[in-house]
Each structure stands twice: as C-alpha cells, then as structure tokens.
C-alpha cells in the first residue's frame, strides 16, 4: 500500500508542479508587461469595444436556449463516456456478458439521441 501510494505520488507530482509552473509562466509575463509597457488611465480606453458607439446594456443577457439543449445532451453523453473508460479496460476479461450489457447501455442512449434528433433538438436554428 505504502509503495503504491508512493508511486502514485511520484507519478502525479509533475501534474501538481506543472500547474504551478504554468501559473507562473502567465504571471511572469503579466509582471514583465507591467514593467515594460506604458500605462495611463484614460477614460476612453476603458470603454467597451463596439462599432464606435457605447453599448446599451450589459452583454451577459439573453442567451439562446439552444445552447442549453446542447449542454444537457453533452452532459448525458459525457457521463456515458466516463463509464466507457473502466469498461474498455476490463470487458475482455469479463467476457461476453459485459459486452452485451454495454451494448444495451449504448442502445438506450442511442434511442435517446434518436428521440432528440426526431424532436429537432439537434437542428440549429
């Protein structure tokens, strides 16, 4: 147990360090630009980019509902993809029953996709 925990730690240590290194790469670039680039707080520079006029309201309103439809579908299929990973590593040893169980699972999801397709949820408009 101790040994495997050690190897797990040494395996994923670069992930932890990589996050820190990546953070400092961006951070150091921002510090460098603070030192090198000119800064002046002018009112007009802080306005939102638009075609020459000031935007009327904040931008973060009225998001089309179709984005949510795709997001819901994505969550369903992504959870399914998560199930696929442990299955693909072990189904050959587990034998034909494991394969047909996954077949059933995918067919149920496929029926869901077909239903969404028929309802027009996959049609962008």
């Amino acid at each position: 147990m101790g040994q495997s925990l050690d190897s797990l730690f040494s395996g994923y240590l670069p992930v932890l360090l990589g996050a820190v290194v990546g953070f400092f790469l961006v951070f150091s670039a921002l510090v460098a630009t603070r030192l090198l680039a000119p800064f002046s707080a002018e009112r007009e520079k802080g306005t939102t980019y638009e075609c020459g006029m000031l935007p009327l309201r904040r931008a973060s309103t009225n998001i089309g509902v179709r984005f949510y439809l795709y997001a819901i579908l994505f969550v369903l299929f992504d959870v399914e993809a998560v199930f696929l990973f442990p299955w693909m590593l072990s189904f050959v040893e587990l034998g034909a029953a494991a394969y047909y169980q996954m077949l059933l699972f995918i067919l149920v999801l496929g029926a869901g996709l077909a239903y969404a397709w028929k309802k027009g949820a996959l049609q962008w408009r």
Binding site: P14, G18, T33, L73
Partner: protein
C-alpha cells in the same frame, strides 16, 4: 525516492521540475516556430512570400512580435468583471500546459508515463473551454460573449467524438499476455512497433482529426473566432501580452494534440523500427525516435495548415449537425464493432474491415451532403415555440 535524468540520480521534485523546464523550453520555441511556419506556409499557398524582413527569410518575426506584445499597454475595459477577466488567461493556458506531462516524445523521454495517461490528457485538455467562456463573460462585450458561447457549444459537441474515437483505439491495444486495452500512452506507443493503429482504426483516426480541428477552433471550424462575424471572438477586449497568452495556448494545443495523434495513431517514436535502432546504438536510437515523433507531428500540423488554406468556414448548423448526427453515431458504432471483435477473440483483420466500412460510410455521407442543393440555413428565430407545438 529518486528520479533519473541524463543518467544522474536526483530528487523527484528536482527531476519533475527539470523535465517541466525542458517542456517549457520546447513549448516556447515550438509555438514561435509554428506561428512563423504557419504564416510562411499559408503565404506560399496564396502565392505570397510571408514575413521576409526580420532576419534571414523572416525567421525573427515571432520573437519580434513577442517583444512588441510585451511592450503594449495591457488594457481592461471598465465594465469588465475584474476577477473573471484577469483569471481567464490562466484557465486557458495552464490546462493546455498540463497536457505535456503525459506525452511521450521518445523511449524514456517524457515527463511521466501515467497509467491513465489518455484519460488524463482528455480530462485536462477540455478544461480550457472554461477559460474561453470566462474570457467572453468577463469582457462584458457582445462579440466576446457570442464567441465564447459558440466556442463552448462547439467544444462540447466535438469533445464527445474525440473521446470516443480515442477510446476505440485504446480498446485495440494488445499487451503481452493476451490483455487488450490500455490507457497508458507509453504502452500504446510501444505496442505500435510493427503496425501503427491507423491501419486497424482508420475511421477513428479521421474522427479524431476532424474533432481535433474543431477543438482547436481551426478552419473550417473557426466560427468562435471568426473575424468577419465576432471580430476575434472571446479575446476582443484583450490586448498586449494577455492576448498573446491565448495565442500561445492555442499553438501549444495544436502542438500537443498533433503529438497525441502521432503517438496514438501513427506509432509515435516506435514505428518504424524505433526500438531496433535504439538497440543498435543508444544515442542514435534516441535521436531517431525524436526524429520520428517530430516528423509525424510536423506532418499532422502541416495538414492542419493545409486544411486552413483550402477550406471555407462551415456554417453553424452544418457544424453542429456534423458532430451530433454523423460523427457521434459513427464513433459509437466503431466502439461496438471493436468490442464484438475483441470479446470473441476474432482476428484483428475484422477490426480493419469494420473500421474501413465505417470510413466508406462517412465518405458517402459527406459526398451526399456536399452534392445536395443548397438549402436555406433554417427558419428565423422564434421557431422554437413552433417546435414545442409539434
């Protein structure tokens, strides 16, 4: 507990840091080189010369650009959400950088061989969509918001075919002792010493390649960053070095996904004869393996540039339909066909036959879609209420 690098035994913390340092160097050089090469290649396709003024044949163009960007004022719009706006570059760049950890370059030359390397790569690389949405949301700009939403919709739609195509290949990996299936990128590459997996799984490769173009927001899938529609997408309000962080992330992602494709489908450093040469001469072998990785990755990257020079931008409804109605069912069919062949222990040729049949089907679908007379891109908005009634 000690690691080893260049034949010296060192502390694992230092070992990991040294390897990460090499990755940072590779990434910086590669990103600059890729920006230069893309401009040159695209210029040649369009019968121009590309950058010529800075240094011999313009090779100093990218460093010059980097210096210029460093000296530009870093603006933040007054209406922007300060935290979300400031943190977005980190969320775009750091996940992409983390993918380096699991990528094998040559035998023994990687940061770490993770047991679940493929799962790790897929999990980490998809976080950067969050960064895109943060950039769009935080900027408080309509163009940025629209671009971010488009990026999110496209990113999640093509994530699924990408994941499932890679699972299809990982199923096929045959390890010693009749074990099938591995997510360890080191094992996946080593097992391709004789035949790369593109031979067994051509359909999975095509699906991976298309989904890779979409994940990278490259032409023909560049509607989130289309200049003529959303003037650059989520990054409109970013300037100077902060903007270049997104660009660096984009080119690093191009490099890493091409490296992943080369490792999983084209045999990485192992095919052809990677191990045989290494047995003859250790140093020559490592150089040869690096050469193989670089050649395959370079070829994939070149085809990405090539596609950009050839294809027009896709329409959004075509883009979503292609992912959900064509690629997703086909990739599931690929998984089920692979599973059937593997669970009954049928000969591997059947994998190729099933995948090849799927590839022909994909070609027929695309051919029919291209030849169909153009239709109008859907009803005007407000049709959703009508939809609910049907």
């Amino acid at each position: 507990m000690n690691g080893e690098i260049f034949g010296f035994e060192i502390n694992i913390w230092l070992d990991a840091l040294a390897r990460l340092g090499l990755a940072v160097g590779l990434m910086t050089v590669a990103a600059m080189a890729l920006i230069y090469l893309e401009r040159k290649v695209i210029a040649r396709f369009q019968q121009r010369l590309g950058p010529t003024r800075t240094g011999p044949a313009g090779i100093l163009q990218s460093p010059a650009d980097a210096l210029k960007l460093l000296g530009k004022e870093d603006l933040r719009p007054k209406n922007a959400d300060p935290w979300v706006f400031e943190l977005a570059p980190y969320f775009v760049f750091v996940p992409i950088f983390l993918v380096f950890v699991a990528i094998p370059f040559a035998f023994g030359w990687q940061i770490r061989i993770l047991e679940l390397g493929l799962l790790y790569v897929l999990a980490v690389s998809s976080i950067n969509i969050v960064g895109w949405v943060m950039a769009g949301w935080g900027s408080d700009n309509r163009y940025a918001m629209l671009g971010a939403l488009r990026a999110a919709a496209q990113g999640i739609s093509y994530e699924l075919p990408l994941v499932i195509a890679l699972v299809a290949v990982a199923m096929v990996v045959s390890l010693p002792g009749d074990v099938r299936g591995s997510l360890n990128l080191g094992e996946i590459v080593t097992e391709q010493g004789h035949i790369p997996y593109i031979v067994w799984q051509p359909l999975a490769f095509v699906i991976f390649y298309v989904a890779m173009l979409a994940e990278l927001n490259r032409t023909p899938f560049d509607i989130p960053v289309g200049e003529s529609e959303v003037v650059g997408g989520p990054f409109v309000e970013y300037s100077g070095i902060r903007w270049s962080m997104f660009f660096l992330g984009e080119y690093t992602a191009l490099l890493l996904l091409s490296l992943l494709g080369a490792a999983v489908f084209l045999g990485g450093w192992a095919w052809p004869l990677g191990e045989t040469v290494a047995e003859q001469n250790e140093i020559l072998g490592v150089l040869y393996q690096f050469g193989l990785t670089a050649a395959k990755t370079g070829f994939l990257i070149f085809t990405v540039f090539w596609v950009r020079a050839t294809m027009p931008r896709m329409r959004v409804d075509q883009l979503m339909a292609f992912s959900w109605k064509v690629l997703l069912p086909l990739s599931f069919a690929q998984i089920l066909a692979n599973g059937l062949v593997l669970v009954y222990g049928w000969p591997d040729v059947l994998l190729l036959l099933a995948s090849g049949a799927g590839l022909v089907l994909l070609a027929v679908i695309i051919d029919r879609a291209v030849k169909r007379p153009a239709e109008r891109p859907g009803r005007p908005s407000g049709a959703l209420e009508g939809e609910a009634a049907t």
